[in-house]
């Protein structure tokens, strides 16, 4: 009996681990735009509700280019780029500060490298053309054939894909 219990417990623990690639452990997110939530991760799936820009959500799962999110009212799927990870939004200073205070937003790198800003205004002003550095940079140049070999080594297969165009109705 005890054993069974343990087995169940282990199974229960393993279950989320098996789906680990999809689970995001309820990460916080913010809606980047007004969007419709779907019941399934497909564009033509039934509507499950909607969210508005700036609304806080809980990211439950990722599947391909879709995220399953939980809002105050409902749960549904939206496209990956409709949600920003983290809780701060553009123009929301307070959220940024809170995120920083909680340690969520920072990567720690900013702090660790303070004082080692490589490209300060002064350094830019003092910048002088460096022939030996540019020559060294040029010495690393790879040919198109080199690039192809490198791609083959990584099993990268070029695909047909037309350049993205600006979405209609946007001020771009």
């Amino acid at each position: 009996m005890k054993l069974t219990f343990k087995a169940i417990l282990i199974a229960a623990c393993l279950l989320p681990a098996l789906h680990g690639s999809a689970a995001l452990a309820a990460e916080a997110g913010t809606a980047l735009k007004n969007d419709t939530l779907r019941k399934e991760p497909y564009a033509d799936a039934k509507t499950a509700g909607n969210f508005i820009r700036g609304e806080k959500v809980e990211i439950l799962k990722k599947q391909g280019a879709w995220l399953q999110v939980k809002t105050k009212k409902t749960t549904g799927w939206v496209r990956l780029l409709s949600v920003k990870r983290g809780t701060s939004t553009a123009g929301n200073q307070t959220a940024g500060i809170l995120a920083a205070a909680s340690g969520r937003a920072g990567t720690g790198q900013v702090v660790s490298t303070t004082g080692v800003r490589g490209l300060s205004e002064q350094e830019l002003k003092a910048a002088k053309f460096n022939e030996s550095e540019i020559k060294t940079m040029e010495s690393y140049t790879q040919s198109a054939d080199d690039g192809r070999s490198f791609a083959n080594a990584g099993k990268l297969k070029p695909i047909a894909f037309a350049n993205l165009k600006a979405a209609k109705g946007t001020a771009q």
Binding site: K84, I134, Q142, G147, A151, I159, F161, N163, A167, Q172
Partner: protein, 326 residues
């Protein structure tokens, strides 16, 4: 290049260094993908502009005032003569590929003067391999594309005309796989393909030459650079910069996708940068002068729509992603 009298121009001469830096900033700040924040663009411009123009840098380049300030002691009283004196002629109206590369080399070489290469040949070769493969998917595969990681903890990337592309070590640190690197390099490649930086320099230069701002003294210092310069004021035209950023985002993602990479690499980097501590002073400038990463994500999302729904074979290649030694 013919000169013409243009009383609408600032009659201004800057020191070669300052002029070059202005030109550099035009390409770097206005158009780079991961702008950094340690550069105080506004500060630099303002200082330069106030010194040179005695007025606000936001003043349009067509302002009719003509301050007489010079920092060099030279004057531009003989415009047609000075331009003719600065041979060889650089065809600013329609630069050749070679001229574009020469110009980019000047800009890149100066940036390297401020931030040298990371001394890690394997890293540099790796970045060149990824970049070259992505560039081969662009509309200008014939350029001699060159890439480099430079010694700076800022988060930034730079593109100079002719295919000179640099990213900072600080930005490289933010990356976790090759698809992300491909997306970032793809964005910069997009700037070069669309000649965004070159166009800014051309516009500025044609304006300057029209007014005869160049002096033979500078031409002696460096014939090309002396012509590849801007007054800085032009840079405050922000609307062009934003559209160029969005365009480069779309191209960068497209090139990386065509190269066989997981297409969302660039958006992951934008997500990461969007989470950078906004309270740090070094980040504030980015959000002030560039489209916020959030806006770039939205714009990309709108452009993508359902176009990536059937692309499932893209690779991230985190296993061979080159790890920095320090």
């Amino acid at each position: 290049m013919k000169t013409s009298t243009n009383s609408d121009m600032h009659s201004t001469i800057m020191t070669p260094k300052k002029l070059l830096i202005s030109a550099l900033l035009a390409s770097v700040f206005g158009l780079s993908s991961m702008p950094s924040f340690a550069f105080d663009l506004k500060g630099v411009l303002k200082e330069a502009a106030e010194k040179e123009f005695g007025q606000s840098p936001e003043a349009p380049a067509t302002d009719a005032t003509q301050p007489q300030t010079t920092t060099s002691g030279s004057t531009a009283s003989e415009p047609s003569a000075t331009v003719k004196a600065s041979e060889p002629e650089f065809n600013w109206k329609n630069p050749s590929k070679e001229e574009e590369i020469t110009l980019g080399r000047e800009i890149a070489g100066n940036l390297l003067g401020a931030a040298p290469l990371v001394k890690d040949a394997a890293l540099q070769k790796y970045v060149n391999s990824v970049g070259r493969w992505v560039a081969s998917q662009s509309e200008r595969p014939e350029l001699p594309w060159r890439f480099a990681v430079i010694e700076s903890e800022d988060i930034n990337a730079f593109a100079a005309p002719g295919g000179y592309i640099m990213l900072t070590k600080g930005l490289y640190r933010k990356l976790t796989n090759e698809a992300q690197l491909a997306g970032v390099l793809g964005h910069e490649i997009g700037h070069v393909v669309k000649k965004h930086q070159l166009k800014v320099l051309q516009k500025q230069q044609l304006l300057n030459m029209g007014a005869g701002f160049l002096s033979s003294k500078y031409a002696k210092d460096n014939k090309l650079v002396s012509k590849a310069i801007g007054t800085g004021a032009e840079i405050s035209a922000r609307s062009l910069d934003k559209s160029a950023e969005y365009e480069a985002d779309r191209l960068g993602l497209s090139y990386a996708a065509r190269a066989g990479y997981e297409p969302y690499g660039l958006t992951e980097v934008l997500q990461a940068i969007g989470q950078t501590n906004k309270t740090d002073g070094s980040v504030a400038l980015l959000f002030k002068t560039h489209p916020h990463p959030d806006e770039r994500l939205v714009a990309l999302g709108d452009a993508i729509g359902n176009k990536l729904d059937n692309i499932k074979s893209g690779k991230t290649l985190e296993n061979r992603f080159y790890q920095l030694k320090n």
